[in-house]
Amino acid sequence: MKKKSKVLVVDDDMVNGKYLSKQLLKEDLETEFLSDGTKCVETVMSGDFDLVLLDVIMPNITGVEILRKLRETYQPLELPIIMVTARDETDDIVEALNLGANDYLTKPVNVQIAKARVSNQLMIKNFYLSSIEKKKLETLNAMIITYNHEINNPLAIAMGNLKENKDDLSDKNYNKIREAIERITDIVKKIDNINQGTVEFESYAEGSLMIKAK
């Protein structure tokens, strides 16, 4: 089952905050309403929220101050923040957008516009998350290719040679055994380099990358 996106609505105005929360619930979103702005950062840190709707003018702490604090930890793509303002708060809107707010809504909030803007920001966030996931899968795939190409196959050959010649220590076989041991040493060095992160991505085949020890 697909996880519902979780939205935090922060507004000291119970009328507006509850209205927004209830309307977004109808959009199959999970919502939480917080009327005390001073608890916002703490709530976000502990709540696994996908998006925040943040009122600008609140007692004790302003929405812009909260935004500034949240942006110290969360980038706009990680945690979209939509500011909610009165129509006459142009300066606050500009400041908030400059500080990393993703978008804004004006009061009284038109619920169709709110739903569309929330949906847009969640779509962008999900696209960002899936691109990170794709990058992780590419890395994993590259690791598998590396393992086979750089480690598993050469190791199988070296071990085969060693096994074949280990009981005959004549001069004739000495070089073969030495070469096999040198190969195994190289492979161990590669494993060590990969463990230490001294690697680069290299094209292996069309659409595939491999990790190559530097």
């Binding site: 105005d13 119970m14 009328v15 507006n16 007692p59 006459d88 009061k107 009284p108």
Partner: protein, 114 residues
Amino acid sequence: MIDKQKLLTHFDNDLELLSEIFEELRALSKRNINLLEKSIADKNFEAIEREAHTIKGACSNFFAQKVTDAAFVIEEKGRSKKSDNLENDFKVLNELVIELISEVELLIKGENAA
């Protein structure tokens, strides 16, 4: 005073939601009107601006332009620290809020009966 059509559209014709949010407005108006009155008596301009702003924001969800305009006048005076005629401005706002509450209450009753 209220724009009935706009109000019902704003709430998606969801009377249950309208009633629930209306109860919040009723509670908020009682609390914040009292706080605003006290702020005006104390000449606490920061609080005047804040309380008037809250009332303006809450009432704007009910499409009563007269109320939001009256709250805005007081909010602006609080911001610019002007106390002239504030008592009268408050009296006007208070009456308009009472009128708004009464109109929305009647609207909900009427819609529920229909």
